[in-house]
Symmetry: C2
Subunit: 270 residues, 2 copies
């Protein structure tokens, strides 16, 4: 049985709840941590959200998200850079150890240029992250999301980028849904070692369905989550395991029932 | 300008046409080769189809498809093995140099077992392919298709598998749509070298849309096709470039208009 002390509920998993509700329900259910999204945090305000979470005795495993580095103009790049600094500050305010980076889609078929923009953007943000005590976590997304979300679409590439920039405030977030298909996934997790700063779990449906919001409840799909979690153990990862099941249909289900399913599945599967 | 002598029309691109129509229209338009699908071939029969194509002076760049190796029972495995031999025979009848292998989805979350079944299935089929003078081409599919189509979802894995089995009758088919997202795609194409036995072109839409049938017309999407074609040149590939645009909406368009667009785009883009 996985230790409930390592469970974090990513709030997008029960998207029908406000941050206030997530805090209440997780506190009551004994879930010790949550993953927070900036748009949900903005609804209550950063200071208020941070106080709510702290008063409930909850921890924040990560804040989602910064990134979106490739741009078409210098002006746009400056706007993004400012917003990424605000994201780092918000993570610091929540005492979140990690800001998740969704690196952004390419702006043209020149994917190499987009990848350079990502590396440059991360490098420029790192000194600020260090000052604030927040690590940046590169989350490789599934290759089907390259046009909309991120040009960083394999764990290999994320690990190699983190190795190249080589900074203790830069790491990699492994979301099982995005990377499970890679035959080298467990070897790459081990290779990440101390650069592994987050582990997210959901499951992969067949048929695959909608690209953005049809992830399956852990245990309902094709992903060998236990085996992947054991690889994170071997990498030395001792942080939270965030359950992040982004699924539009789940909005119509009862949140507490979903949360109980997550707790049970987490203990038996992970 | 790309040489029209290297253009092959994969018949799924104008799916509203029968094989007979594809042969007629390609002959008239000066397209020298076609990629054939077994279900379409079966509609006219293998002998008749082979005669039609030969009499029109067309070549067949590939036959699609064999594969689907992972199974849940020995009986099922035997049925698949027989069907794969029939596919090889059909490719030989059409004088197609390559049978495209879509390797099949996993039957459980044990992806490593599925990958072993693929390797074993290919190894078992190779002597028959050699006898028939047909090369087997492993086509890695996009990782979003892992649950429905193939557990082989990266070019790296396909190349490494072909290298491991190391047989002159085994190679790799590169379909730009499936592998363009890989930062190492061009290096892997070069590494494939003489094992590169096919190159398919379509384009990647944003937003990504339906997983199976929303490929874009070449030139309409995110893929740097020219750059990828140049990598196949460096690999020493001199075979046909198959345009394979699988898109349900194209069924409602005029086939000849599509074909003219393909010819123009092929010459200016590839």
């Amino acid at each position: 049985m996985a230790d409930l002390a390592r469970l974090s509920l990513n709030q997008r998993t029960i998207d029908q709840w406000t941050l206030t509700q997530v805090v209440e329900h997780c506190g009551r259910a004994g879930v010790p941590a949550i993953g927070v999204w900036r748009d949900k945090l903005a609804e209550v305000g950063v200071d208020c959200g941070a106080r709510l979470i702290a008063e409930a005795g909850l921890q924040v495993s990560s804040l989602c998200r910064g990134g979106f580095f490739p741009t078409t103009s210098a002006a746009d790049r400056a706007v993004r850079a400012d917003d990424n600094k605000r994201a780092v500050e918000e993570a610091a305010a929540l005492r979140a150890p990690v800001l998740v980076l969704v690196c952004g889609p390419p702006v043209s078929p020149d994917l190499a240029a987009a990848r350079r923009a990502v590396a440059d953007g991360i490098e420029a943000l790192l000194p600020f992250a260090r000052d604030q005590g927040v690590r940046l976590g590169i989350e490789p997304l599934h290759p089907m999301m390259i046009g909309e979300r991120s040009v960083i679409v394999s764990l290999r590439e994320a690990v190699e980028l983190a190795e190249r920039l080589d900074d203790e405030y830069l790491g990699v977030v492994v979301d099982a849904y995005h990377v499970f298909w890679d035959p080298d996934v467990e070897a790459l997790i081990e290779r990440a070692g101390s650069r592994l700063v987050g582990f997210h779990a959901s499951d992969w449906l067949t048929p695959a369905g909608d690209v953005t919001a049809s992830r399956a409840m852990i245990g309902d799909g094709l992903i060998a989550l236990r085996s992947m979690r054991e690889a994170t153990d071997r990498a030395g990862y001792r942080g939270f395991i965030e359950v992040e099941v982004i699924n539009d249909h789940h909005r119509h289900l009862d949140g507490d029932t979903l949360l109980q399913t997550i707790i049970q599945r987490f203990q038996s599967l992970l």
